[in-house]
């Protein structure tokens, strides 16, 4: 999928001040699945190294935002603690993230861009489904809304720019693509991604022990299911509004 990185070669990281009580650890400059084992390792090391002085840690693609407790640590102390925590960092195992299989009902009614992308590529919609479900994706970062994971990379041929005019309402569970990334809308919200189908799986559920199904670094595989199976899983078949 990506060029084989040398696992022994530790990335050089930079620390950047971004606020009174926050700094960014920058490990890489570009998006690449091969970076995630390093990001996950840094995530673990920083959680351990900062302990109770850590307020929030937000990993994302190439960086980690460290929000530390300003009552406990000065800016200089925080930089020192981060430096210490990341000393001799080794990448996490490529198996570190958890695996998820997400059943998706791919259909024109709940995925209006499915036929459009098929038409653009001169193939039928089954071929688009086959390609979208044909590989594991990595959750690079969570954001946009609770439990929403930015995942990739999708096959280059499937890459599609965001809609020129975002939809006012995208149904929860909608599975979309934008450029070379894919994602599932965790709650009903406005959105500009190209929608291919829908899952009945809840990404964010306050009544579940694991409130967010995904965490950064998890691996996700989509599986096509029938309309009947989707309904059986509690899926909502209401067609997606065009705008």
């Amino acid at each position: 999928m990506s060029q084989s990185p040398s696992p022994a070669l530790s990335p050089s990281f930079r620390m950047e001040t971004v606020g009174m009580d926050a700094l960014i650890v920058r490990l890489f400059d570009a998006i690449d699945e091969a970076h995630m084992p390093w990001i996950l390792a840094a995530d673990n090391a920083l959680r351990e190294g900062l302990g109770g002085a850590l307020i929030d840690l937000v990993p994302s693609y190439t960086t980690l935002l460290v929000h530390y407790d300003i009552e406990q640590l000065s800016h200089i102390e925080a930089r020192r603690r981060v430096q210490q925590a990341l000393h001799g960092l080794q990448p996490a195992s490529t198996e570190a993230g958890r695996e998820h299989r997400i059943p998706v009902w791919y259909d024109d009614s709940v995925g209006p861009e499915l036929p459009r992308i098929a038409e653009r590529l001169g193939v039928d919609t089954d071929e688009i489904v086959r390609r979208h479900t044909g590989r594991d994706y990595c959750a690079f970062a969570l954001g946009f809304s609770p439990g929403y994971a930015f995942m990739g990379m999708i096959e280059e041929a499937l890459a599609t720019p965001r809609l020129k005019t975002p939809r006012q309402k995208v149904a929860a569970g909608s599975v979309g693509i934008a450029e070379r990334q894919t994602a599932i809308y965790s709650m009903r919200s406005p959105g500009g991604w190209n929608i291919l189908g829908r899952t009945a799986v809840k990404l964010f559920d306050r009544d579940r022990d694991e409130i967010s199904l995904f965490r950064p670094g998890d691996r996700v595989r989509f599986e096509p299911i029938s309309r009947e199976a989707f309904i059986e899983q509690g899926g909502d078949t209401t067609p997606l509004e065009e705008r």
Partner: protein
């Protein structure tokens, strides 16, 4: 703040309901009779869950919430009501002591004017009403001990976009008929403090906001940086709990679209149109525009009181200077 939680533990309703307080025969409570543009339950915010895409939330003007709580002897980050613009009216179901701080929204008790910053007793049946802004935008109402409701991920902060927090746990704003129940029957502070010893005045026409400059400042050209810190900015009408747009000189940045990364509170991001957006408590957790840096928490609190049209000047500070002032503010409540 001291009580921020860094764990992902969820406090459930059963945990709270499982510990009833037998010394409270009846609960001190208020019933909402009228609402205005927006009133929300807010505390210091929700922490330890931004990696899951859950935003921070919390009182925009955390200093005024802290003072309102201080007046009753509450912890500074106890949950209160953030009343934006005014309009709210509440009736006491039982006599209780309350405190307000922050914007002057023309508060009255049964029609008789109240000080914008102070504590007072609301007798059973009396109505506390807020009119409209005279200075500032957001007033904070504190109840003894805070507000009794079930927190989600350690906080009661209401985030409508995420359908989290608030009285119902689903992100709903305060509505007519809602009951606000005090977390304790009497204030911790025995001696009532009627007025605050000191309070920075609400911004009226102009505000100076301190900005901790960030590493990405190197991406901006020299003329833009000079303009950013030497020319006036106007608060735009596109302003809410997610962010506040400023209009003024066009800032140019060499970095185009960047890879999305975590965004701190108060981040001053500059999209391609060159007009900054200051990202506040309900911001999205990651984003990819270049940033000048981030406002200090004290400056964020002040911005939360700036009406559209207010003139803003940005003043660069070091993290150390911002921290010194922040810790001094916390020390006032000890």
């Amino acid at each position: 703040m001291a009580t921020r939680t860094t764990t992902q533990k969820v406090t459930t309703t059963t945990a709270r309901n499982g510990t009833p307080n037998p010394t409270q025969p009846t609960q001190a409570s208020l019933v909402v009779e009228r609402t205005g543009p927006l009133a929300l339950v807010q505390d210091a915010g929700r922490f330890g869950c931004r990696h899951l895409g859950v935003t921070q939330g919390g009182a925009l003007d955390w200093i005024s919430l802290g003072w309102a709580n201080w007046l009753l002897g509450n912890a500074p980050d106890a949950a209160g009501i953030e009343i934006a613009i005014g309009g709210l009216a509440l009736k006491a179901e039982r006599t209780l002591r309350l405190a307000i701080a922050g914007a002057d929204l023309g508060a009255t008790r049964d029609g008789e004017p109240l000080a914008a910053n102070g504590s007072f007793t609301l007798e059973q049946g009396q109505v506390l009403a807020f009119d409209q802004p005279r200075a500032g935008l957001r007033a904070y109402l504190a109840l003894p001990g805070g507000i009794d409701a079930a927190p989600f991920m350690g906080s009661l902060s209401t985030v409508a976009r995420e359908q989290l927090g608030g009285l119902d746990g689903r992100g709903s704003a305060i509505q007519v008929g809602d009951r606000l129940v005090a977390a304790s029957s009497t204030p911790q502070r025995g001696e009532p403090v009627r007025e605050l010893p000191s309070l920075s005045a609400m911004p009226t026409d102009e505000a100076v906001l301190e900005l901790v400059t960030g590493a990405q400042i190197a991406h901006f050209d020299g003329a833009s940086l000079f303009a950013a810190f030497n020319q006036p900015w106007q608060v735009d009408s596109r302003a809410d709990r997610m962010g506040v747009r400023l209009t003024g000189p066009v800032l140019r940045c060499q970095a185009g679209g960047m890879v999305s990364e975590g965004i701190p509170l108060g981040a001053v991001q500059v999209p391609p149109d060159g007009q900054p957006i200051i990202l506040l408590n309900d911001r999205q957790t990651i984003g990819g525009y270049p940033r000048l840096g981030a406002l200090s928490p004290i400056a964020c609190a002040r911005l939360g009181q700036c009406a559209p049209g207010t003139t803003i000047r940005l003043s660069p500070v070091t993290p150390h200077q911002a921290r010194t002032r922040y810790l001094r503010q916390l020390a006032r409540w000890r």
